[in-house]
C-alpha cells in the first residue's frame, strides 16, 4: 500500500514540527504522559475542526476527536510512522465521523417520529468564535447554519468527501486513502455533492428573488 501524507495545508509538513513530533512521540511511547498531552495540543485544533465540519456539533466533534486521540494513544507502541500523526488522526477522525453520521441516520430512521427541528444543529454550536462581536457571531451563525442544513442532506461518505475537498482542500487521492475508497468513487461523490449544493443554493436564490 502506498502511504500518502497530508501536505496540502503545509502545517503538518513543516520539518521543525516533524522533528518536535518525533521527539514527543518517542517520549510518549516511553510513558511520558506530558509528551502525549503536548501531541494532543499540537493537533487538537485541526482535528476538532475537521470533526465539527463533518458532524456539525461542537460537543459531538470533541467526543469524536477525543476517541481518535485515545485510539492513537492505544496504538503508540505499534505506530510505525508510515504516515504522519496528523494524517493518521485525519483518517481516524474521518472514519469515526462517518460511522457517527451513519448511526445518526439509522437512529433517525428508527425513531422516525423525531421532528425535523430537533435534527438541526444547536445554533450556539455554529458560532465560530465566542469572542467575536455579536454581528460577526450572527453572520457566522447564519452562514454556518445554511451550510450545515445542506450538508445534513448529503449521505455520510458524500458529505465527508465534500468537506475534505472543498473545506479542508485535501486532494482527491488523499481523500481516497483517508476514507479507504477508490478514486473514481471519490470523484463521483464530489460531483454529486456539488450538484446538491448548487441545487440548494439555486432554490434559495429563487425563493428570495
Amino acid at each position: 500500500m502506498t502511504f500518502v501524507d497530508i501536505a496540502v495545508t503545509g502545517r503538518y509538513s513543516l520539518p521543525m514540527r516533524r522533528d518536535t513530533e518525533k521527539i514527543l512521540l518517542d517520549q510518549a511511547r516511553s510513558g511520558q504522559e506530558r509528551a502525549f498531552a503536548q501531541l494532543v495540543d499540537l493537533h487538537s485544533e485541526r482535528i476538532i475542526s475537521l470533526a465539527w465540519r463533518l458532524v456539525g456539533q461542537r460537543d459531538e466533534a470533541e467526543d469524536i476527536a477525543q476517541e481518535a486521540f485515545l485510539r492513537f494513544h492505544r496504538s503508540l507502541s505499534t505506530f510505525r510512522g508510515d504516515s504522519s500523526i496528523g494524517t493518521w488522526l485525519y483518517r481516524t477522525v474521518s472514519r469515526l465521523a462517518i460511522d457517527h453520521l451513519r448511526r445518526e441516520r439509522l437512529r433517525r430512521k428508527i425513531f422516525f417520529f423525531r421532528s425535523a427541528d430537533n435534527d438541526q444543529p444547536d445554533p450556539l454550536d455554529l458560532v465560530s468564535d465566542k469572542s467575536a462581536s455579536p454581528q460577526e457571531q450572527l453572520l457566522a451563525q447564519e452562514t454556518g447554519q445554511h451550510m450545515q442544513q445542506v450538508l445534513e442532506k448529503l449521505p455520510p461518505q458524500q458529505k465527508a468527501v465534500f468537506v475534505l475537498r472543498h473545506l479542508e482542500q485535501m486532494p482527491l487521492k488523499e481523500i481516497a486513502y483517508t476514507l479507504g475508497l477508490k478514486e473514481g468513487t471519490v470523484k463521483a461523490h464530489l460531483h454529486r455533492a456539488v450538484t446538491q449544493f448548487r441545487k440548494e443554493f439555486r432554490e434559495e436564490r429563487e425563493e428570495s428573488a
Partner: protein, 148 residues
C-alpha cells in the same frame, strides 16, 4: 453548441478543483476555447462554489488545554488492551454463571455434557462481544450499504 463527453459536469467540477490530469486539462482547455456553452457552465459552477461559506471553528487556548488534559486523563484511565479487558470480564462472568449452574446435593444430578448450557452461554457472550465491535464500527451497516 459543441458539448461532448470531455465537457461533462463532472469534468468541469474536477477542472475547478484542479483534479484533472494534465492531458485531460489541456483537452478541456481547448474545448472551452471553442464552446461558449461550457464556458458559461464553468463560470456558473465556479461562482456557485465560491459562494459556499467556509465556516471556521476557533478554539481558544484555554479550551485546547482543557481538551488535552481531558484526553490525557482518559488515556491514563483506559486499559491499553480493551479487547483483552472485555474478554477477561466476560470470561469471569461466564465462570460465575457456570458456578451457579453447578448441581447441589438436593438436586438430581445430571451428567455434565461438554456442549451444555454454560458453554452455550459463553459462545453467546462471545457473539455479543462481536456485536459490540460491530456497533462501534458499523462495518456491517457499511456493507449493507443501506445508509449511504
Amino acid at each position: 453548441m459543441n458539448r461532448d463527453k470531455q465537457c461533462s459536469e463532472e469534468q468541469l467540477v474536477l477542472y475547478h478543483y484542479d483534479e484533472l490530469s494534465s492531458a485531460e486539462r489541456q483537452a478541456l482547455d481547448v474545448h472551452l476555447n471553442t464552446c461558449s456553452h461550457c464556458r458559461t457552465s464553468l463560470e456558473e459552477l465556479q461562482a456557485s462554489l465560491a459562494a459556499i461559506p467556509r465556516p471556521e471553528l476557533q478554539i481558544s487556548k484555554a479550551r485546547k488545554l482543557q481538551f488535552a488534559e481531558r484526553v490525557t486523563k482518559r488515556a491514563q484511565r483506559r486499559p491499553k488492551n480493551y479487547r483483552a479487558a472485555w474478554g477477561g470480564a466476560l470470561a469471569t462472568g461466564a465462570l460465575v454463571f457456570a458456578m451457579f449452574l453447578q448441581p447441589t446435593e438436593n438436586v438430581v444430578t445430571v451428567t455434565p455434557n461438554p456442549s451444555s448450557i454454560p458453554d452455550f452461554e459463553v459462545i453467546e457472550m462471545l457473539d455479543m462481544l462481536q456485536d459490540l465491535d460491530l456497533l462501534k464500527d458499523l462495518d456491517l451497516l457499511q456493507e449493507m450499504g443501506q445508509l449511504r
